[in-house]
């Protein structure tokens, strides 16, 4: 657990568990995980395949509900929220980047990036478009706005997915093996971008990876083994680094 947050606590997970099935067939994907994350933190979750790291990310991202335990965002217990409330919080507070880009092939690059803003409906369309274009430019994707997602390379698609995750200016970006489908060059590019965005915008990052060398580029490593948080190492001082 982090030793207090200078910028404020972003999220606090308390004794999180997730069990699939019942009785003898029950599988304990996550058991009693507690952690605190600060605003603007840059952290990684590591662990073997099937260790429960993606389950933890899905619970923290409000995509799944815990069998036990609680998650608080900026002091608010999300168990008080209904499905629609969780969807609103997910839209406004959290950005997702997955191993697969999950772009919508029916929409252009620009429309894909605008989509979370359109779902939220809190930003005027003109401002949203401007923001989406700026975010695409930040990720080096100028000139690709009108293209269809299917016309892009793998690295470009993942950068569009990152732009989409950032367009609502989330407090937290959750990334699940975001470079799993990319070559080394694009992998380095994506992590450099993550770090730059973290520093420029103050967005906190929680990145799931099985690659320890990638995790070591973050400020904090949370290690999950057999559904339990076995290590929480601070590799750099976030406050002084920022």
């Amino acid at each position: 657990m982090a030793d207090g947050c200078a910028e404020g606590t972003l999220l606090m997970a308390n004794d999180l568990s997730k069990t699939y099935g019942e009785g003898e067939t029950a599988t304990h994907a996550l058991q009693g995980v507690s952690l605190e994350m600060c605003e603007g933190e840059f952290a990684a979750i590591v662990g073997q395949s099937g260790s429960g790291k993606s389950t933890l990310l899905n619970l923290l991202g409000l995509l799944d509900t815990p069998s036990d335990g609680s998650v608080r965002y900026q002091g608010r217990d999300i168990s008080e929220l209904d499905k629609a409330g969780r969807a609103r919080l997910r839209n406004g507070l959290i950005g997702f980047v997955f191993q697969a880009h999950y772009l919508l092939p029916e929409f252009s690059v620009l429309e894909n990036v605008e989509m979370p803003g359109r779902i939220g409906g809190n930003v005027p369309i003109a401002d949203l478009r401007k923001r989406a274009i700026e975010t695409l430019a930040l990720l080096g994707l100028e000139g690709l706005e009108r293209k269809n997602a299917n016309q892009l390379s793998g690295g470009q698609k993942q950068r569009v997915a990152i732009a989409r995750a950032l367009v609502n200016r989330p407090a937290l970006l959750l990334a699940d093996e975001p470079t799993g489908n990319l070559d080394t060059l694009n992998t380095n590019l994506v992590y450099d971008l993550f770090r730059q965005i973290n520093r420029d915008t103050g967005t906190a990052f929680l990145i799931v990876t099985h690659d320890r060398s990638i995790a070591e580029r973050t400020d904090r490593i949370l290690e999950i083994t057999d559904g339990r948080l076995v290590q929480d190492i601070r590799t750099r001082d976030v406050v002084s680094d920022a």
Partner: protein, 379 residues
Amino acid sequence: MLPLRIAWRFLRSSPAQSGLIVAGIAVGIATQIFVGSIIVSLQASLLETTIGSAAHITIKALKESDPVRFSPEMQKLVTSDPRVKPGTVVPVRSVSALFSNGTDSSSLGVLGGDLKALDGIYKLTKRTVSGVTSINNGEIMLGKDFAEKFGITVGETISLKFANNQTGSFKVTGIFDLGSAQFNLRNAFVTGTVPQNVLGWANDQYSSVQMQLNQPYDSAKIAQQWSQQLPGVSILEWQGQNKDLLVGLQSQSMSSYMIQGFVLVAVALGIASTLAIAAVQKTRQIGILKAMGLADRPAGQVFLWQAAILGAAGSAGGVVASFALLALFQLAPVRFEITMQPSFVTVSALIGIIVALLSSIIPTRQTSRLDPIEVIQNG
């Protein structure tokens, strides 16, 4: 309007699939309008032919040979009833006569009344096929089939022998065709005083009082109501006297409704199955949108909008196609005019949209229930 925007893009991303659904709805709605219009027009034509120039309700004395008194009370009752077609209340006197040309003879029902009043039901002016429409004193109008049978032409004078051995000579002013060979052969029109003199009846005594209704199918109900208000007379209505025709018309309507119903069911099943497939095809996209924060309700609305767009486009196409089909059908040598009622076309198009919307219930519910984690975990 994000759900509408997403629905539109989903439809555009599968143009062949969307086109096929629209075509399916269009064919269904076109069939519905085409079959419905033909049946309605056919029935209207049949009704016009059979009762268009006949009384829908006839008031008579209880005894066939007795006169019925067209009292001021009866006159007030029938003329003030809004269900009675204005200008069609006709008091008629009829008397049997014998016509003979020396070699052949025939009985003839001679109907007497005021031409203007008779015109309201029998439409003599419109149905005069030869000569002029006139039944002044000493004039008679004969049916086409009677005139042809006996070779009588306009301008000739014929002699009739009435039941009480009175005779009369009449100048033929016109030949009518009321569309029924039987009526044309058996009836003739004269001024009302001719049968009145033969029968020796007072001015308010008639063989019957006839009238038409705005809605012919109201006849049974009206006859029943009037028989309570007008005691001592017999009230006959066309449906009671034409039961076979009525059964035929009702069977025709029933078969038409069944065809239209089955067409709509087929359209509904087609749309429902295609939308259900489309919902499965777009599960991944809906899951991603939900992961980004799209709530269940707008997610479900995506397929509702798809159904609305498909239903509206299909119905519009169906209306256009039905016009084309009916235009083609008019080229065929049909004996009745087909008319499309704007209200029927509108209702049919609305039914198309409603059926499409109802067909989207299953995919809409599927989509609403979809949990984004299912998509994320399954990649």
